[in-house]
């Protein structure tokens, strides 16, 4: 069995609450699946950091994009790799209108619930990725 991890890369969207949701979701997934899920700084990839690039190339990659700009996905693609899964936080927000993030600094109760919903979906997909790996 390989020891490939699942690298979760959120967008950084500093100007938008869904950017913060993206970041907090990545951290939540890492907490829920310690030892399997890891995060990599998108900024490190943008600046060409070798450690970050190696981590992305050697493992499964999940990208979390806040909006239609798809920064996380495009930054991975710039290194010749396609994410194993890509999630648009905006779509989750649209499907869960009662879980709207409130602010950029503090996403509030609605935002935290959105983080929980998305994290659960991602963790379920991580299980699927790892199960397929074992086959």
């Amino acid at each position: 069995m390989t020891s490939k991890k699942v690298v979760v890369i959120p967008c950084s969207g500093i100007g938008k609450p869904i950017g913060t949701v993206s970041r907090e979701t990545a951290n939540e997934v890492k907490k829920l699946r310690p030892g399997i899920a890891e995060t990599v700084c998108l900024a490190a990839l943008t600046s060409g950091d070798e450690d970050a690039i190696k981590k992305v190339n050697d493992n499964y990659v999940i990208t979390l994009d806040g909006c239609a700009k798809h920064c996380a996905q495009k930054n991975i693609q710039a290194y010749g790799k396609e994410p194993d899964r890509n999630y648009m936080i905006l779509k989750f927000a649209a499907q869960n209108p009662d879980k709207k993030p409130e602010g950029i600094v503090d996403i509030g109760k609605g935002g935290q619930e959105l983080v929980k919903t998305i994290s659960e979906k991602i963790v379920s997909d991580i299980e699927e990725i790892k199960q397929n790996e074992e086959k």
């Binding site: 959120p10 950084s12 969207g13 700084c41 490190a44 600046s47 060409g48 950091d49 495009k74 930054n75």
Partner: protein, 139 residues
Amino acid sequence: MEENEKKLSKVGIVSCSGEDLPEGTISRLATLEVLHHKKPFDITTICLPLYIAGGEGDRMFAKNHPVITVDGCEKLCAKKATEQYSGKVAHSINVRDFIKKSDEIKNKSNLNEDEKRITAEVADAISLKVDEILKENNK
């Protein structure tokens, strides 16, 4: 492009948002503090990943305006990416320079008192630098 009119002289802030380290959160929150409260009319934030993801406006702004980069660690991602994609950086701030040995830095959200204090100090440092740069440019 028929017309390209520049409006206003502002300073760009490029912040790392490093998810791997609490210092990335401090960098991000300090920048937001300056954007929302301290210098809302004098700065524009530039999203670092947009340098690759097609942010023509962000790249152009950073080329044509002075930029302060705010980094969370010695990798200096914000500084390096800005230099690579847009040119010289007016000033570089590293959150690590504000951390004392006795400070407890561990949270990526729900900051403790040390982390809040450092965030405020970094925000003050950014604001001071913004003032200096604007004063210098408007002589």
